[in-house]
């Protein structure tokens, strides 16, 4: 059916040229770049096309009115690369700018650190250097270091200032204080022709810390780019009535009171009211309920449900009061407030660390004064204590582990949403699973595939490729050869038929295929019949467990975690799954508020809960839990409130996440101890007044390198067997049809 695709929402206009960003699937090699850019540039009116291989996005500029954006997507589809319009989120653009700023600061700090170090090494090694030359070198160092520190130190100074204004302490407060005092004291020492200046230490400190920050930020940007692409791939399209015509528009362009056409097999793109038509809808992504709900005119329906049997016309509504979504959002607000009170490990360390260090410096000053040293010498020694304890290793200890751990998670197909998620994930001792779409696969599968003659199943599956019905989609997944039969025709509400080897084949309802109806006792299961040349089969389609659910659940149990199922589906549907997995504590038929209540009760007992769920009804529970995970098939609202999202059909990423987070936490602790030991050695030296700039520089870089190397050990952990889910970039971007 010819239909227009309206992509106006994604096109940006700039004096005569139009611009669109597309997320492209299947980009895997150098040849893809040339093929994609070449074929797009050949289209009439295209000014430029540039593929960014790192984030798999294609930017196209063309003369306005000479090309429709839908043609671009069609052209890419023709050469085997599905492309999806993409709108960079505001946060992503902001993060790109922030990253650029951090790298600029890093470059300035690196330049200054190198040049000041050149001058400092000359001063340290030139013992026969005259006082004038030494002063000249110190003044030069000051000339380089002061403006550089004023520029490159901004990320720390701003953050420290923000913390102080809200009367709090974070790691940036002692860092900023250390840098400013080191520079100030060095300036005074230079002006009074003294031997020691610490310009090099201050610059090196900034350089190391900026390295850590930039790496942390780069890792987060990388995962966010992949998440953005996945969102574009998943983005829903809706069929909207414009005048008398039906136009295909992105769901993001829908407004209240738009009228939509929803065909069987479509996912509802928005909340709304049915205007006409009757159908059954599958709301498992919304409520977790696997039994389908019949709807007719006037029924309220929610985004995320799948239309099963009939064609519906619906009117889009804004979230009205009294609806499920309304309740979910109200609960979310409350749950999020509780989470924002979590204090990160680094900040907790800073709260203990800063007062101790500052007290030590003050005691050093008083001690030397009492021992009869001059005021000048006492102040210099006290400041040297502050410089040497400036938490370089401490500030790198946790971010370095986080960077390596989020890289390891990324390779295990887990994409982190929240910065402090690793810490919270490592503290959990109870795992709460949702059932539908989390323990089970998001789409139904043929449950009795093994009982059916393989050849017959293959024919049924290939015939199913020609149908849009959700049950047929489950059958089609069994096809080994994904080639539909020619001349297949679908009869609405009945099934699909085609001529195979001169005999008619039918797939559909039992009566349509002339097969006796088989009664099913299981809730949520359906049958679909197939007949061809005298052979018949009845396929049972229902929710099935994820392929590795058994192993993952028992592995989680051997780690000593308590497992619980909280499902929105009926108790009869939950019981068999819980029994199969050996989970004793399983509750069904829960509303969103009851899920939260159950989690709160666990929290009150001192449990740290990891919630794994996918439905709209899980979103508040995900936000209320100590940490949360969602599969990539989850409802948007659930995904945005989960700490991390995992890809693929397997459940093992849950286990991997827990494993990596535990390992990361152990290394964070180790790193903090390393930093403490370093201080225990360096501080007495500084108190005794032996902390020359050379010793400060060596101690500082040595400890920073030590904690960074220790952090790299997160990667070294042995891999659990069978976690070989392809890395996110591979699984979503495998070449689909490279010719």
């Amino acid at each position: 059916m010819a239909e227009t695709l309206d992509l106006a929402l994604f096109v940006q206009h700039r004096d005569g040229t139009a611009h669109i960003d597309l997320a492209v699937e299947g980009v895997a090699c150098a040849a893809c770049i040339r093929k994609i850019e070449g074929s797009v540039r050949r289209l009439p009116g295209v000014v430029d096309a540039r593929l960014n291989f790192t984030n798999r996005r294609l930017a196209v500029d063309w003369h306005e009115n000479e090309l429709a954006p839908a043609d671009l997507i069609a052209a890419l589809q023709d050469i085997g690369y599905p492309a999806y319009p993409f709108q960079p989120e505001r946060t992503e653009t902001q993060e790109a700018q922030h990253m650029r700023w951090l790298v600029k600061c890093l470059a300035v700090a690196g330049f200054a650190a190198m040049n000041v170090m050149l001058l400092s090494v000359s001063v340290w090694s030139g013992s026969d250097m005259g006082q004038e030359t030494r002063d000249f070198f110190h003044w030069l160092s000051a000339l380089i270091a002061l403006p550089a520190a004023a520029y490159a130190g901004q990320p720390f100074f701003q953050s420290a200032w923000r913390a102080i204004r809200t009367r709090q302490l974070n790691m940036d407060v002692p860092i900023s204080l250390g840098v400013i005092l080191a520079l100030g004291m060095s300036l005074v020492e230079t002006a009074t022709h003294q031997h020691h200046a610490y310009f090099d230490s201050a610059m090196m400190l900034l350089f190391f810390l900026l390295c850590g920050r930039a790496l942390d930020h780069a890792m987060r940007r990388k995962t966010r780019a992949v998440a953005g692409n996945l969102a574009a791939l998943k983005a829903e399209f809706a069929h909207r009535f414009d005048g008398g015509e039906v136009v295909r528009v992105p769901a993001a362009a829908l407004r209240a009171d738009d009228r939509l056409l929803v065909r069987p097999g479509d996912r509802l793109p928005a909340d709304g009211v049915v205007l006409s038509g009757t159908s059954e809808i599958d709301e498992s992504l919304v409520t977790g309920e696997t039994a389908r709900r019949p709807v007719g005119a006037g029924a309220i329906i929610h985004a995320g449900a799948v239309n099963f049997s009939g064609t519906l016309t619906m009117r889009v509504t804004a979230a009205g009061s009294g609806t499920l979504l309304d309740e979910v959002e109200r609960l979310l607000d409350k749950a999020l407030m509780a989470r924002s009170r979590y204090v990160r490990m680094a900040d907790r360390a800073a709260r203990m660390y800063a007062p101790v260090v500052h007290a030590t410096a003050a005691l050093t000053l008083l001690g030397w004064l009492a021992a009869g040293a001059t005021v000048h010498d006492s102040i210099v020694t006290a400041i040297a204590v502050l410089i040497i304890t400036c938490p370089c290793a401490l500030a790198l200890a946790i971010p370095a582990v986080q960077v390596v751990a989020s890289g390891a998670l990324f390779r295990a197909s887990v994409i982190l949403n929240a910065g402090d998620a690793i810490e919270r994930l490592s503290e959990i001792n109870t795992v709460v699973f949702d059932k539908t779409g989390t323990l089970t696969l998001p789409e139904p599968r043929v449950a009795n595939a093994a009982e059916i003659v393989p050849d017959l199943l293959e024919r049924a599956a290939r015939l199913a490729l020609s149908s849009r019905h959700p049950l047929a989609a489950a059958v089609a997944r069994e096809a080994r050869e994904r080639v539909p039969f020619e001349g297949a025709s679908e009869e609405p509400g009945q099934g699909v038929r085609a001529l195979i080897e001169a005999a008619e084949a039918r797939l559909g309802s039992a009566s349509f295929c002339g097969v006796a109806q088989r009664e099913l006792t299981e809730p949520g299961a359906s049958t679909i019949a197939f007949s061809h040349a005298g052979q018949t089969a009845v396929l049972v389609v229902r929710q099935t467990l994820r392929p590795d659910a058994d192993e993952t659940v028992s592995a989680l149990r051997t780690r000593g975690l308590d497992l619980i199922i909280l499902s929105g589906d009926r108790a009869e549907a939950v019981a068999p799954i819980a029994a199969r997995l050996g989970i004793a504590d399983a509750r069904g038929g829960l509303k969103p508020a009851e899920k939260i209540a159950a989690i709160e009760a666990l929290k009150a007992k001192g449990r740290r809960v990891l919630m794994v769920g996918d439905g709209l009804n899980d979103a508040p529970a995900l936000a209320a839990a100590h940490a949360s995970l969602s599969p990539i098939s989850a409802a948007d609202l659930a995904q945005t409130h989960a700490d991390a999202v995992f890809l693929g059909e397997r459940l093992s990423p849950v286990l991997e996440t827990v494993r990596i987070a535990h390992r990361a936490r152990r290394l964070m602790r180790q790193n903090l101890w390393l930093a403490v030991i370093y201080n225990a050695i360096a501080v007495p030296v500084a108190i005794a007044g032996y902390a020359t700039p050379l010793i400060a520089a060596a101690a500082m870089s040595g400890s920073s390198i030590l904690v960074t190397l220790n952090a790299l050990r997160v990667r070294a952990g042995k891999r659990a067997v069978g976690t070989g889910v392809a890395c996110p970039t591979e699984s979503t971007l495998v070449p689909v049809n490279p010719s």
Binding site: R34, L51, V103, A107, V108, M114
Partner: protein, 56 residues
């Protein structure tokens, strides 16, 4: 030691040139697609006619 009067400014100017070059390349977007740059060098687009014959 008078040679320092030439050497030190020269060293600084060289360092600043490097910094300026880096900042320019950053602004130019040369770090936007690190993996793509590694692969683009493999394509023979600049060879013109030969490339036309070889392309699939």
């Amino acid at each position: 030691m008078n040679v320092l009067i030439y050497l030190v400014p020269m060293a600084l100017v060289l360092g600043l040139t490097g910094l300026a070059a880096f900042l320019w390349s950053l602004r130019d977007g040369q770090y936007e697609d690190m993996e793509g740059a590694a692969l683009r060098v493999l394509s023979d687009d600049d060879l013109g006619s030969e490339d036309q014959r070889r392309s699939p």
